[in-house]
């Protein structure tokens, strides 16, 4: 034993050394590190669980969104159809009113044209009388005396006046 260097006191010292080392390492190294590892594992598990929950939530939300979109599309289609129907009614009404207005305008135009024509004819007749009078005056001035001339004119005026009335 002595030749191998084994001494009871040295042996005991090494036993105490190792026991102290186990206690120190347990307190300073193993417990904190194992706790940190466990905390991280828990955190990761928690994160994964949360992610899984979020995925389910997202799927639910997506389904809801799709349902809302489908409902909105349906509603929009219905509104468009209604609008189209309504627009067709309005269109027909507007066209009918336009036709009516057009007819009224045409009628009024015709009436105006008739009135204008009558007025024009009247003015033309007056003008013709004046021209005829002037021509007759010119002719008679060169052929007859003033007294006969006046008698003829008056006679003619009476005839014309009678014709016009």
């Amino acid at each position: 034993m002595e030749q191998l260097g084994i001494e009871p006191l040295q042996l005991l010292t090494q036993v105490v050394n190792f026991t102290i080392m186990v206690a120190i390492l347990t307190r300073l190294l193993y417990k904190p590190i194992l706790k940190a590892l466990k905390d991280r594992r828990d955190k990761i598990a928690e994160g994964l669980e949360y992610a899984e929950k979020m995925k389910v939530e997202e799927e639910k939300t997506e389904a809801k969104r799709q349902a809302v979109i489908a409902r909105a599309n349906e509603e929009a289609g219905r509104i468009v159809d209604e609008a189209k129907k309504s627009a067709k009614g309005v269109e027909a009404e507007i066209v009918a009113r336009a036709h009516e207005d057009g007819r009224a305008i045409i009628e009024k135009g015709k009436a105006d044209v008739d009135l204008e024509r009558i007025d024009m004819e009247k003015k033309l007749k007056e003008h013709l009388v004046e021209i005829a009078g002037a021509i007759a005056t010119k002719v008679l001035e060169s052929t007859i005396s003033v007294s006969s001339h006046r008698a003829i004119i008056n006679k003619k005026i009476k005839v014309v006046a009678k014709q016009l009335s």
């Binding site: 030749q3 191998l4 260097g5 084994i6 001494e7 006191l9 040295q10 042996l11 005991l12 010292t13 090494q14 036993v15 050394n17 190792f18 026991t19 102290i20 080392m21 186990v22 120190i24 390492l25 347990t26 300073l28 190294l29 193993y30 904190p32 590190i33 194992l34 940190a36 590892l37 905390d39 991280r40 955190k43």
Partner: protein, 247 residues
């Protein structure tokens, strides 16, 4: 001509209080303990969810040891983790510190029996039988205590079984095996590490340049393997001792 210094026993450096002789292996053991304490403090000083460099190393080592020995101890890992991890870390640290430059070469010239003698200041703790024997005794005592605690008096039936002569003989062999475990634990570790140191010393003495490098690598590997063997065997014996006997 220079000579090589090889001693199978650890050499005394000084005495504390005139009672406790401090050998170079004990002195180196204290240094290793100090380094491990400093490492532990640095690693766990600012524990964060996203670990820093030292915390990452500590987590890698601790988690690696935990998972490795969990395969042997299963649900009992939490109970024995401190012992097993300490054995592994302490032994590997001792083994590797013994390979550092200066260990075995830096020393004092001391007077012994009237003539001057070179005494290395540092010596790998596991290259001293006192250390390996102490670890072996602790391991075997804890194995026995755990067996008794887990199985009660039925644990003793492994060693004292009077059902028939064969079981009785097997029990005697088991009992002898428990004692030889101490010797095998202690001498395996001491033998490998001491032999490695001698090998490196001789190689470095004969061819100091480059040639020792492959042997240094080999000794690093041996240091790791011996730490693993010691702690793995302890774990296996613990698992065996705490499991119900098959006969």
């Amino acid at each position: 001509m220079p000579s090589i210094h090889i001693s199978i026993t650890a050499e005394k450096l000084f005495t504390i209080g005139g009672v406790l002789p401090v050998t170079n292996s004990l002195f180196t053991s204290w240094i290793v303990m100090g380094l491990l304490v400093i490492f532990s403090l640095l690693a766990t000083r600012k524990l964060a969810l996203i670990p820093g460099n030292i915390q990452s190393v500590a987590e890698l080592v601790i988690e690696g040891i935990y998972k490795l020995f969990e395969t042997v101890l299963h649900d009992k890992i939490a109970m024995f983790f401190s012992l097993i991890a300490s054995l592994f870390i302490f032994i590997i640290a001792m083994n590797w510190v013994g390979l550092l430059p200066g260990v075995g070469t830096i020393g004092l010239r001391m007077l012994e029996d009237g003539h001057e003698k070179f005494v290395p200041l540092f010596r790998a703790g596991t290259a001293d039988l006192n250390m390996t024997l102490a670890l072996a005794i602790i391991a075997v005592l804890i194995i026995q205590y755990s067996g008794l605690r887990s199985l009660g008096t039925s644990y003793l039936k492994r060693f004292l079984n009077f059902r028939n002569p064969i079981y009785f003989f097997v029990g005697i062999l088991e009992l002898a095996g428990e004692f030889t475990r101490v010797i095998s634990f202690a001498f395996r570790l001491f033998g490998n590490i001491f032999a490695g140191e001698v090998l490196l010393t001789v190689i470095a003495f004969l061819m100091p340049l480059l040639v020792p490098l492959p042997f240094l690598g080999l000794e690093l590997f041996v240091g790791f393997i011996q730490a693993l063997v010691f702690s793995m065997l302890t774990a296996a014996f613990l698992a065996q001792a705490t499991a119900p006997a098959s006969h």
